[in-house]
Amino acid sequence: MSATATEVPMLHVQVDGEWKQFPKGTRLIEACMKSGQFVPHYCYHPKLSSPGNCRMCLVEMGMPKMTPDRKPVLGEDGKPEIGWSPRPVISCATEISEGMGVRTSSPLVEECRKGVMEFLLINHPLDCPICDQAGECRLQEFSVEYGKGESRFVEEKVKKPKRQDIGPRIVLDDERCIMCSRCIRFMQEVAKDDVLGFVNRGSHTTLTVYPGKSLDSNYSLNTVDICPVGALTSKDFRFSMRVWFLRETKTIDVNCGTGANILIGSRENVIHRITPRENDFVNSCWIPDNHRLNFHYVNSAERLKDPAVRGEESPVKWPRAIQAAADQLRKNPGATALIASARLTNEELFLAKRLASALGSELFDVLPRPQKGDGFLISQDGNPNTSGAKLLGLATGRLAEIAAGVSTGKIKTLLVLGEEATDCGISAADLEKLDSLVVTGILPDQTTARATVLLPAASWAEKRGTMINIKGRIQRLNRAVSSPGQARDDWEILRDLIQAVGGSNGIYTIEEVFKQLAAETPALAGLSLGKIGDLGVDLKMTKSE
């Protein structure tokens, strides 16, 4: 602990009769939640300002009774007695103070919730059966939990616009909107693109974008995530799958060096959507739209499914493919180079390096992907694991040398792991000059088309492993779906190749790979996949790394 860190005083708060301690500055709703008392809410979001407009989080609040000389009155149990306020308060905008009491399920509180639920439902349309939010709708959930269970509203409902195309990726249904303003606040406070607003007033208040403008921010789909009802829905996901069928897998985004934490929603080996997963060290609760939507290729019918060896009848079996690859890789010692990818996991890069040394090749590199970045969650590095490639010594800066070698014929054997070689300065014609071109990949491209041995691999959503983001945080990938056809995990392919070229003993699990990796890499000392956990760990990496 640094000596300058100021200590936050702990305050005593009585939550449903039990005294607890929380740091000063805690919002009352958070104190309740931390005590295991769920407080239903709509407008409150931990990452946004508190407008206090939905009134769902009303609780009973009290302050310690004071004697005339400002000392707390103690009860029989020696604890301060609380003078309860007759009016309920919103717990989202109330900060805790010493001796505060809160009741989260008293008759008054339950009455308040019932009232608010009824108000929210009277003008809400009855299209739940076809609503995409079904299954994760807060209105439905709280209605079951806290509602009256019957309707006495016999008036005509307020009519508002439905199915409006308000942006390239979003559809708005205003009748479903409960005016919690989360989306407006997100666009103002986080995305910094003030295009959403309320028009008209009273019960006719309507969420809208300015005529002629569009909710086209690259963060627009986060509004869909935080919309507690089905007012904002994603065009990409609309009517694709009922959410209760989705299996959620915790993993990370691989579209750039940020490594935003995400959930993959899949069913029966098909990915249906990606949503952000909260990690305050990395991406808070948000991800960019173009990253979250960049998964359809994983489901593609074009995926490489079978190993292939040039001149042999396809498909070949894995043992044959590995043998052929090993034979070719060994053929030209001294004229062999390796292009790895900073999109591979640490485990894969670690094994790639081992393979290189087993082949006696010192000529290897990864393809850098510098990009503009957006100053928020899209980093200036288009690779998700440049830090890992650097840490493991794969990023050598020798890519041009490799390209020149292929061109001049100095390099006769090239192993390409998950990259398009033509992006690395090697022309398609030069690739043809190679004696051997061993390639791992997931989709057909110019490199796989020219492979002498093609080894179909797993996409990022199909494998486990770790990556280190641009800020030096090591995080885990997890398998959401299995690879198509015979395609295999890259680390297994690499392990088999190492064995086949006469290398090391067998490794049977990804955990073992990581164990060996950690043993050989000081920055990872003491870590295991389990210790990295769902949220990752900051590595103490030196500047040169």
Binding site: S50, A93, C112, F119, L120, E155, V158, F198, G202, S203
Partner: protein, 451 residues
């Protein structure tokens, strides 16, 4: 740009005109010369010789309560502002007069704008404020012009602007016009409106204007009439001023009487000087011939309605100083903050709406329900949804579609609004329904059962 000629009737013997003293004078016009001829800006001169804290103490001692509706003690409000906190302070005068039944500020703004400006500069000096806004509802377009003009006149004479009367104190004043929203009368909504945002009331805590007001700086929001009283507290002295009223409610109050009386209008009376009966029968000439009193809304449309034959049990101070129970008839209710509070209503903005026996209570409530449904800002759930729901129920009842459960539903909807909203509008829209149902249940039952 002149307002229509306005002649105030001679005062009733019970009246004590302070705020409306000038306006009562024949030939009085809003020019600065006329104002000065009638002793204008003398209180400001006196104020500039005092320490700001002395002025605040005087206002405290005067027992002046806000005249906008909430009735908060004015001096206490001012003392929340720390004179030397190094922050800018603001005063915003609430001239959004929009509580149905209230029509006093209209006359001050149109006919005696310098009275307001003088009071405002004194208030600014007392609270170390250098920038003030007078928020005037847009439905007073002429008043806005008149007040602008008055500010220019006062500036030219050194009462407003830089180095006021050589004292070294600066204060700029600007007029800001509303655009037709009752909610802007709520002080934090008014500040949002003045900041150019949708006028959604702020949550309290933490946004108390005296702490986080206009531009998140300490701010005083006072009603037009309240600010005018400040001038007279200095002129008369706080003791003399306080003596006019009751112990907790000093000075005069302008009572606005409308509805079914012979002489509707506004009457400036010492606080607590008259009963409701005296106000209606002696001062306003009683009801129209052949009519009987049925109901009174005593403090603006949000105040709970009183029924003519009601008898209230209240606690009053007996001769020996002990509190004793007493029964009072509705007409004997004294028009001050404490008494109206004790009978379950409020003095509010002192807008008294009188209804005689020709009035149907479902109809009257529906009129108010439509008002609140139209004026709800829509920010928070209970008011946004509840105000329109109540209005739809009473409208349907009047259209012959009443259902037996309607009174009960109305009651419960109102109960689910009051006390659960961001701002006091929740109470404002629930109280009429709650009180009309409580006081006139038989009329609601009858209309609900009608086919």
């Amino acid at each position: 740009m002149t307002a229509q000629p306005f002649v105030m009737p001679p005062p009733h013997p019970k009246e004590r005109r302070i705020i409306f003293e000038n306006i009562s004078q024949p030939g009085y016009d809003p020019s600065i010369d006329t104002f000065i001829k009638h002793g204008g800006y003398e209180s400001l001169k006196k104020a500039l010789t005092m320490k700001p804290v002395e002025i605040i103490d005087a206002v405290k001692a005067s027992n002046l309560r806000g005249r906008g509706g909430a009735g908060f003690p004015c001096g206490v409000k001012w003392s929340f502002i720390k004179h030397d906190d190094g922050k800018p302070h603001y005063i915003v005068v609430n001239g959004d007069e929009s509580e149905p039944g209230t029509f006093k500020d209209r006359y001050i703004l149109h006919y005696d704008p310098h009275q307001l400006i003088e009071g405002l500069v004194i208030s600014a000096y007392a609270t170390n404020t250098h920038l003030s806004y007078i928020y005037i509802r847009c439905e007073f377009p002429e008043a806005a012009g008149i007040v602008w003009n008055a500010i220019e006149e006062a500036k030219a004479r050194g009462f407003v602007g830089k180095n006021i009367l050589g004292s070294g104190f600066d204060c700029d004043i600007y007029v800001h016009q509303g655009a037709g929203a009752y909610i802007c009368g709520e002080e934090t909504s008014l500040l949002e409106s003045l900041e150019g945002k949708r006028p959604y009331p702020r949550i309290k805590p933490p946004y108390f204007p005296a702490v986080l007001g206009l531009y998140m700086k300490p701010t005083i929001v006072n009603n037009v009439e309240t600010i005018c009283h400040v001038k007279h507290i200095l002129r008369l002295g706080p003791e003399e001023y306080a003596k006019m009223g009751t112990p907790g409610d000093g000075g005069t109050r302008t009572m606005c009487v409308s509805g079914d009386v012979v002489k509707p209008g506004f009457y400036e009376l010492p606080a607590g000087a008259v009963t409701l009966g005296e106000l209606i029968f002696d001062i306003c000439g009683g009801l129209k011939p052949g009519r009987k009193l049925k109901a009174v809304i005593p403090g603006g449309s949000s105040a709970k309605v009183l029924r003519a034959e009601e008898i209230f049990k209240v606690k009053v101070k007996g001769a020996d100083g002990q509190m004793v129970d007493k029964e009072i008839k509705m007409l004997d209710v004294v028009m001050d903050a404490a008494t109206l509070g004790s009978v379950g209503s409020m003095i509010g903005s002192a807008g008294v709406i009188v209804m005689d026996d020709t009035r149907e209570m479902v109809w009257a409530l529906n009129n108010l329900n439509q008002f609140y449904a139209h004026e709800s800002c829509g920010q928070c759930t209970p008011c946004r949804e509840g105000s329109l729901w109540m209005s739809k129920i009473t409208t349907r009842m009047l259209d012959g579609g009443g259902q037996g459960a309607d009174p009960k539903t109305l009651q419960n909807v109102a109960d689910n609004i009051a006390g659960r909203t961001v701002c006091a509008f929740g109470e404002a829209c629930a109280w009429p329904t709650q009180s009309f149902l409580a006081k006139f249940p038989e009329e609601f039952e009858a209309v609900a059962a009608e086919k």
